[in-house]
Symmetry: D4
Subunit: 168 residues, 8 copies
């Protein structure tokens, strides 16, 4: 199976149903780069390439992947189906849709039945999917945990900087 | 693969993710019986038995199935995933859910992406799924079409009977 | 009755309430053309031309039509009313609306009472309505079924092509 | 055509798709009785008896009916279809539904396209449909208008009575 | 009290909370003009000019007004409050809003308690409010009823004309 | 005007459209009693007793009332209309409704236009309306502010007590 | 702690999670200026600067603040968390969001549990938050109350002016 | 700080705002027991015990906790606030609510701003929160990963058992 922008020994798999989801999913890729976590990016459509999806999901953990991030819109089946086929934690990104603004995507991803969870983030918020994946990796790596804490301090500082500009 | 209440040469496959969906799906079974269409009933879970689902969907048309009816609730992936794996028409029944009353099921089933349609009926209305399956078969069988027309006349008569009782 | 772009011996009737729905409904027409299925296109308004709608629906199956695709928006009564007047399978396309984004159209089309189903597709997704009509015809025509399977393989290939471009 | 509890020279037609809607619609019948307006009650289903509906709607004004009240639930087409077939004002009562609580009924009734209005009242509020019909008749009858004003004074008095009981 | 574009002996009062609602409400004014029904137009805000609203509503029927059309958006109290102060039929037009697209307006207008109905039309559809007002007047005027029937025939013809253009 | 359970020199006015809202509104009365704030309780219906509502709202501040709490359900106009007639802060309690669960009440109360705010609390949460009224009074009374702080400490202690019971 | 545009002895604290909320919150600032109430403006993020938020909320009443206005969007925790940490009345402004149009913000702000109220205004309506804060201050200051009444009269006059322009 | 049912060296912290959430959260506790993962259970209310919440969240990772599961209903701030105070992954369980059925809880938990993710599961589905926590731990423990795979096989077998019973 041909997979996407695959760095050596990727730890995070970032998949989506169509390249039209790529602008949304860039937020997750950027976080992996910012935290120096090797990731791979693949177009895997639950509905157009179901066999490819099954194969991707079944062997991901054997290839060393630790977390899968899956983005999808509308009847967004990719995250849940991948979750049913892998023992790895799967993070779902509901992609915004034209008519229902992503409420359909959100419900299709988050309302999984007992037994098969998908860790769902906000509509369109792939950046948070990336951060969640990093935090999952970090819960067993003290160095990475320190990086997460530093990231948070930078967030806080950015608020103080905005206040300072406001006070000028 | 072990399949459900399978009559000889079933034409309609009625599948659902759990036996808890069976009370809802009885409406479809009853219609098949009323129109004397052989059907089979199977528990096929997209999330708990993905391999069984793939196998069921891929060979259904080779076994003589003409239409598949799939019921599911919540993040209801079964109808759409089966639709992606079979060239047959797939009818989706959104099963009502405790908290979101089946709006989650409806969105997960009806909002399929371009390329893979699911013929969606009303929330919880498996009877209509059965009738739709019969009408699909009937569009090429004049005898069955006549039965559908007779069924409609009976519906109309039931209204007139209610009026008569009201007028008494 | 004057009907629309009618090819010889149309098998699929594509109707809509207004020519303002035509851009949405083009997706269904394009699929008929792609699969070489003769279709006809007609403006039939449930509310402005109820008599024309009744006449259209009642005789469609006698004229050789096998499936009717009906698009409508807002209080979208056309698909359900036509379904109540024909024994043929009717596919409903909820057309997106300005204020309620097509949720009104979806509810008006999908929530049909027991006895009269409408096969509902995603909001604005007339392409899938066309495909569903083709699949209904194909369930009894092995040659057409093979075409549907080929169409699916093309969909899958388009995903692999996107992956290849991503990997460059 | 056999019509319902028809008093001599009915002015208000109260119709509904099924006798299961009768408990909801009793509120409208009670108001007609309270204001001594002759009314008729009929089961007229848009989907199960479309021909009967067309006939009912087309001749209602010739039979002396001045206002039509139509109740329906789910894909509630009866009020809008009747409105498209009569020049009379049509009042729609969205009947509450099990899963969508009548939001589907409300959208199907109120979101009529330009040209064909339906005067929609609150979900399940047939009493208000009856009052609206009375007010429509009263706008040209000063005696009836006075009765409406008396009814309003009684409503106000009932509030004061409740206050008095609260103060005891 | 200073009232709006008041023609001699207006029969229909068209009111709204703000001149920003005027573009929406023009549809109702245009219908009055098309049917030659004298109307008046007034800015009457339930929240900014409650006294003016009370005065307007209380005496409207004494000034010869037969129907009141009230448009409002958001927490849209104008139609319901006017309805509570007049025995005349009141038609409510839910004006579309920026964030909730008029769902707030619709609920605020249609969900009136038992005793005080508001005849609600579709979100933003003031044209239908005008037509409903005309139909209310017409139910007692055979000449106006004939005009409504002619209007309907023109609607039907416009559909046939569109079909003809499509067939060219 | 006859008003409700009026203690000497009430500071908080608690009003509602019907005595059926009283069970919901008891939460606000209980808080007034707990904080020893004199309050009055009145049935004031925007739709059935509009004149009484206008009178109540216009003179409330002259009678010494400092805050008005208004509960209403459905097309809940009471809080907003009272707010438009008084310079006092008005707190709105959306009362839960049968079909729309209070979403209609919430939208009718919270979505007020610029110029006339209503301080809205959670659906059915009259207790919080009472607390908010107390906090408004307390913002200028240090003794009452201390009572609010003590109330908060009691809330915190109740959590610790639950933890203790859980740990046993 | 560095705080925002702080005038001497601010009575109203206006806070928001990000400077991107500032355009929305300007409406509140403008009202403070119009009524000559000293206010302060601060960027305080519940999620990025939780410690700063705790500190701000805990001491606000000791610094002389009488009312806090907090604006937030999405999972809008700022108003409710600040309310849990201060005995002062807190007014919440749900900021509109891209996908859910502020319904998420509204629910996150208004649906507070018993014990900790947030006075919620309409989505995006910071102007009303400012007015509500002024009314809270005014309920104990007769001079300010008179200003509120004058503001209301100006609102009413603006309606009459619009009517006059309409009548020209 | 007094914490809940704390086993030696807990790896998963399960917290909730009130003991009324305990029946919902039992699903997560049961999974920890089934997989033999030491966990602790604590009542930590964002609104009633904000200081306790801050302390809990800040030191959780120092006490050896690897994942936090937080359940909350309504304006459900607990998961998001804890997430803002810890570098650990936080899983949010939207608890069903009386009026809005947990849609308020879902939006308050899932719609977090960029920077602070919450891994959200289905409304009321604490069992899945437990499974997700186990999968997070398992992504670095091959033995636990094998247990997850065994759990999945049991799920699949339970479907086949249901089929067998259906076939009898």
């Amino acid at each position: 199976m041909q997979l996407g922008i695959s760095m050596n020994k990727p730890l995070i798999g970032i998949i989506m149903g169509s390249d039209s989801d790529l602008p949304t999913m860039q937020g997750a890729i950027a976080i992996c780069e910012e935290f120096d976590i090797p990731c791979e990016v693949a177009i895997v459509s639950a509905h157009r390439t179901p066999d490819r999806m099954v194969e991707y999901a079944k062997v991901a953990h054997e290839r060393g992947i630790k977390v899968i991030i899956a983005g999808a819109g509308g009847a967004a089946h990719l995250p849940g189906m991948v979750a049913s086929l892998t023992p790895l934690p799967v993070i779902g990104v509901p992609v915004a849709t034209r008519n229902l603004q992503g409420v359909d995507s959100l419900y299709s991803i988050v309302q999984m039945p007992a037994g098969i969870p998908v860790a769902t983030v906000a509509i369109g918020n792939a950046k948070n999917a990336g951060l969640l994946a990093v935090q999952i990796l970090a819960s067993h790596q003290s160095e990475l945990l320190a990086k997460v804490q530093q990231y948070r301090q930078n967030l806080a500082q950015s608020v103080l900087d905005k206040q300072a500009r406001l006070d000028e």
